[in-house]
């Protein structure tokens, strides 16, 4: 997030898109709902499902799946044509405006309606509200990123925010909600193929020299490695021989699970380190038991870049160890000593090599976390990014044309399927499915379908149905719901017994390598 979680309550217009906020980030949704009900903020929700947060909105815009660039360009077309953009911000802080203007010119509300299905007048009205905001806040989530055009979608939202001058201001910004407790921290710490901690590029000679000096090694690899979505195909065709997986369950979370499973079978050696014997761990040659959050010390970095303490409350079961201890001992056996005595010593090393974390000590975050960048021990942290300038200096508009999703409906697969999550479950369910209470509330997977689609396909609420895509078939119960819109069905991906990712398309965003979980074509039939 460029801004803080608290900022949603300081905005007078909030645009939520691709986020089922009340179910996936309930505590942030409360802030949005308070802003609307108690502080008079106006809310625009753009989402293919009539999700609960949409019931709080002034405008709910319903785009066809995979048409985000089109509606965002459409809003910008209205804002530029009507002169509603922030000229001062565009002139002083950005570049590339003319190219943007040219590309979005054809995205009139009427043209966009043809692509997205959003009524032209509604789109124009929403554009005027966002542009007219004193402080406009954009909140988005995986409904924006899990597309083959995910990077384009995010850049388009950045265009919109810059165009209206809603970046670098308290209350505004561009705010992705991160789905997992420490996905921000995993990225910050260099859990990515192209960067060391603090996003220092592995291709940078200077960064490599610094790490080599700190780590006491030579010849660090200077080319970016493979992403997870490249590793599995590489395993499939024999280029990747060994995989060491810590706390991940790609056999449930990857698109096109059957392919992922074959890929893992082709490995010579698979190590999995986890709390439970997950679907992925069952395929491993060696499984190593690790501690959960309640059993260890350390830090997580939340979605607003706030680094917060994790503290040990209970002993781990049996012989489970800290993940860092396990890795350090493997390293030791491979001839490289990692003699850390505790998590704080690791943080001290992180601070030495990571400029954005340099000022963050355990003592400083004892009571309340700090937002990175925090370059020195006196620095107060940075709740709001890009206040004076962008990372690259001027903010660059990316002129982007809309591209259709990788898979479209046809006679054989006439319905769109989109996937997501439910309030009572979490990711692949390895933790939430251990709770009787949560299972009582959300015991099994379901197909969310509109009343009309259900009738067309001869299905009643509660019927068992077979859902088939080009990649597989799953069986589950139908739930007729007013959240669903005609032509599009929804399945949560948590459940192994009816795994939505048997159906999803593994087509990737070419830059981010994110699969298109949010769009594929399916057919449905009553289960035999």
């Amino acid at each position: 997030m460029t801004n803080t979680i608290a900022c949603v309550e300081k905005a007078d217009v909030i645009l939520v898109t691709g986020s089922n906020t009340t179910e996936n980030h309930p505590v942030i949704s409360a802030g949005i709902k308070r802003a609307v009900t108690r502080k008079g903020a106006r809310l625009i929700v753009v989402d293919p499902r009539r999700v609960k947060i949409a019931t709080f909105a002034d405008h709910w815009l319903r785009p066809n799946l995979g048409t985000d660039v089109a509606w965002i360009n459409g809003m910008m077309q209205v804002i530029i044509a009507e002169g509603l953009y922030d000229r001062q911000f565009v002139e002083a802080r950005t570049e590339g405006f003319e190219a943007l203007k040219q590309v979005v010119a054809k995205y009139t509300p009427e043209y966009v309606e043809g692509i997205t299905g959003i009524p032209a007048a509604d789109l124009a009205a929403a554009a005027r509200i966002y542009a007219g905001a004193k402080v406009g806040n954009i909140v988005y989530c995986m409904g924006i990123t899990q597309h083959i055009t995910g990077t384009d979608n995010v850049k388009s939202l950045a265009n919109l925010a810059m165009l209206c001058g809603h970046l670098g201001v308290e209350g505004g910004g561009l705010n992705p909600l991160r789905g997992q407790n420490n996905v921000q921290g995993a990225c910050d710490m260099g859990g990515l193929p192209n960067v060391f901690s603090g996003y220092q590029a592995v291709t940078s000679e200077e960064a490599r020299r610094k790490m080599e000096a700190e780590w006491g090694v030579t010849e660090l690899a200077d080319k970016p490695g493979m992403t997870v979505t490249q590793m599995l195909p590489a395993a499939h065709d024999g280029r990747l021989k060994a995989l060491y997986i810590i706390g991940e369950n790609p056999l449930m979370s990857d698109a096109d699970i059957q392919h992922a499973e074959k890929s893992l079978q082709h490995l010579d050696f698979l190590v999995v380190q986890d709390l439970f014997l997950t679907e992925t761990a069952r395929k491993a040659d060696v499984v190593l038991p690790s501690k959960c959050f309640a059993e260890k010390d350390g830090t997580f970095s939340n979605t607003e870049r706030r680094v917060q303490r994790v503290r040990k409350a209970v002993e781990a079961p049996g012989e489970a160890w800290d993940d860092w201890q396990i890795v350090a001992r493997v390293a030791g056996r491979m001839g490289y000593a990692m003699p850390y005595r505790n998590a704080e010593e690791i943080m001290d090393e992180i601070r030495r090599v990571t400029p954005s974390y340099a000022g963050i000590t355990y003592a400083r975050i004892e009571e309340e976390g700090l937002h990175w960048p925090c370059p020195n021990p006196e620095h107060p942290g940075t709740p709001v990014l890009h206040k004076e300038q962008f990372t690259r200096g001027r903010g660059l508009f990316h002129a982007i044309d809309w591209l259709p999703p990788a898979e479209r409906v046809d006679d054989d697969y006439p319905l769109y399927l989109t996937t997501g999550r439910v309030l009572y479950q979490y990711h692949t369910g390895t933790m939430t499915m251990k709770s009787e209470g949560l299972m009582d509330r959300a015991p099994e997977s379901f197909l969310e379908i509109s009343l009309r689609d259900a009738r067309v396909h001869g299905i009643a609420d509660g019927d068992r149905v077979a859902v088939t895509s080009r990649r597989g078939t799953i069986h589950l119960v139908a739930r007729v719901s007013s959240q669903a819109v005609d032509g599009t069905v929804f399945i949560p991906f948590h459940y192994a017994k009816a795994a939505a990712n048997q159906l999803t398309n593994a087509a990737l965003d070419p830059i981010a390598g994110i699969p298109e979980f949010k769009v594929c074509a399916v057919r449905i039939a009553p289960a035999a």
């Binding site: 859990g191 395993a235 309640a294 890795v327 979980f517």
Partner: protein, 377 residues
């Protein structure tokens, strides 16, 4: 100082901050005024009237939570009149429900029959489930009040426990309305409200249905703000007493909001979770997963020992053996196929320190940049 409005409280002069109530000013100055219904972040209602104070020139005692601090006011927060009023309010509350903490006292010395009756509704022979963790009990002791001498009012509504998380005990509800405000103004789930009228007033969900058949999403905000035993976590009620637990503050392990929470630990097990009030990012709020989804910590399915697969089946192994095997196999694959034949998936679930060590291991030891995690999935 001359520019600021001042008032006098308990004989001392204080500066008034713009927009603050008498209660705000008192709290800012460390002067304790008791409250029951007041909920930070919500609209003050003045419902319970425990926070009344005496203001010179006013005809009645004024609720400090709704009365703006005004220039030249002379306020007394613990005058005899104030104390008397609080004692009366507390007496009425204690008489109006199953407050079997012994602070209630008993009519004609017949505590036993009262307790026996409460036990029937409670399905427990113990004293009140929040004994020692109750604002009403605290105040009853502070002002030395019992419910004696007043007739017990009937308990018109039975206990509700037909959901996995929350027990609603209307026999101990003092109708302060904090839960209603927490639900409507803080979490904005709009699941509960005041229903019926007069002596029959009840906090209802969706036209007086059980919570499970309402818009309730079991965030538990209402439980956290309940000052008495009307709302208690199902797994805590009569199983966990506050003096049996220690708490550790930490960060939630579910989504990326990073809610600050307290793990309540009894006999080495996490038995309850509560939100940390007054600090970002959640200011005490949690969701159903963060508050109630902690069973996995002590699940019997947790891995407790390294496992090695032999002939398609796992067998238990020592750390020595497992680590030796992992290191040997990685070494040999690296030697035979090169560093880039190995990949490492680190995790969005583990700590920063662990992620740092994992990527350092891949880069410095395995000598590959094949490092990623499931941010993309």
């Amino acid at each position: 100082m001359g520019d600021h409005d001042m008032l006098v409280m308990n004989g001392n002069e204080f500066t008034i901050e713009p927009g603050e109530t008498i209660l705000d000013l008192a709290r800012r100055q460390g002067i304790e005024i008791p409250t029951l219904c007041h909920l930070k972040g919500a609209t003050p209602t003045g419902a319970c009237r425990i926070c009344v104070v005496e203001v010179e020139g006013a005809r009645t005692l004024l609720p400090s939570c709704t009365t703006p601090a005004a220039k030249n006011m002379v306020v007394r927060t613990e005058s005899p009149k104030v104390v008397e009023a609080r004692r009366t309010i507390l007496k009425l509350m204690l008489a109006s429900g199953n407050h079997n903490c012994a602070a209630r006292g008993s009519d004609e010395g017949d505590w036993t029959s009262f307790q026996l009756e409460v036990e029937k509704g409670d399905r427990s022979e113990e004293l009140c489930p929040v004994w020692g963790d109750c604002r009403l009990q605290d105040l009853a002791y502070r002002y030395q009040v019992t419910g004696e001498g007043l007739p017990r009012t009937a308990i018109p509504y039975p206990l509700e426990d037909v959901n996995p998380f929350i027990v609603r005990d209307f026999s101990r509800c003092i109708l302060c309305g904090r839960c209603v405000q927490a639900c409507n103004e803080i979490q904005v789930n709009k699941a509960i409200s005041f229903g019926f009228r007069g002596a029959g007033t009840k906090v209802v969900a969706a036209g007086d249905n059980p919570l499970r058949d309402s818009d309730c999403v079991f965030c538990g905000e209402c439980v956290q703000v309940c000052p008495v035993a009307a709302l208690v976590e199902k797994d805590v009620r009569y199983r966990v007493r506050p003096w049996e637990t220690t708490t550790t503050r930490t960060t939630c392990t579910y989504c990326g909001v990073g809610c600050q929470l307290r793990l309540h630990v009894k006999d080495g097990r996490v038995v309850k979770v509560s939100g940390v009030e007054g600090v970002a990012p959640n200011y005490g709020s949690l969701c159903v997963k963060g508050r109630f989804g902690f069973d996995f910590i002590h699940s019997p399915e947790r891995l407790t020992t390294p496992l090695i697969k032999e002939d398609g089946a796992f067998r238990e192994a020592s750390w020595e053996e497992a680590l030796d095997l992992v290191a040997r196999r990685l070494e040999s694959i690296k030697a035979a196929h090169g560093s880039d034949a190995i990949g490492l998936l680190t995790s969005a679930r583990i700590t920063n320190e662990e992620n740092y060590v994992a990527q350092k291991f891949a880069r410095a030891v395995l000598k590959t940049n094949n490092v990623d995690h499931c941010a993309r999935l």
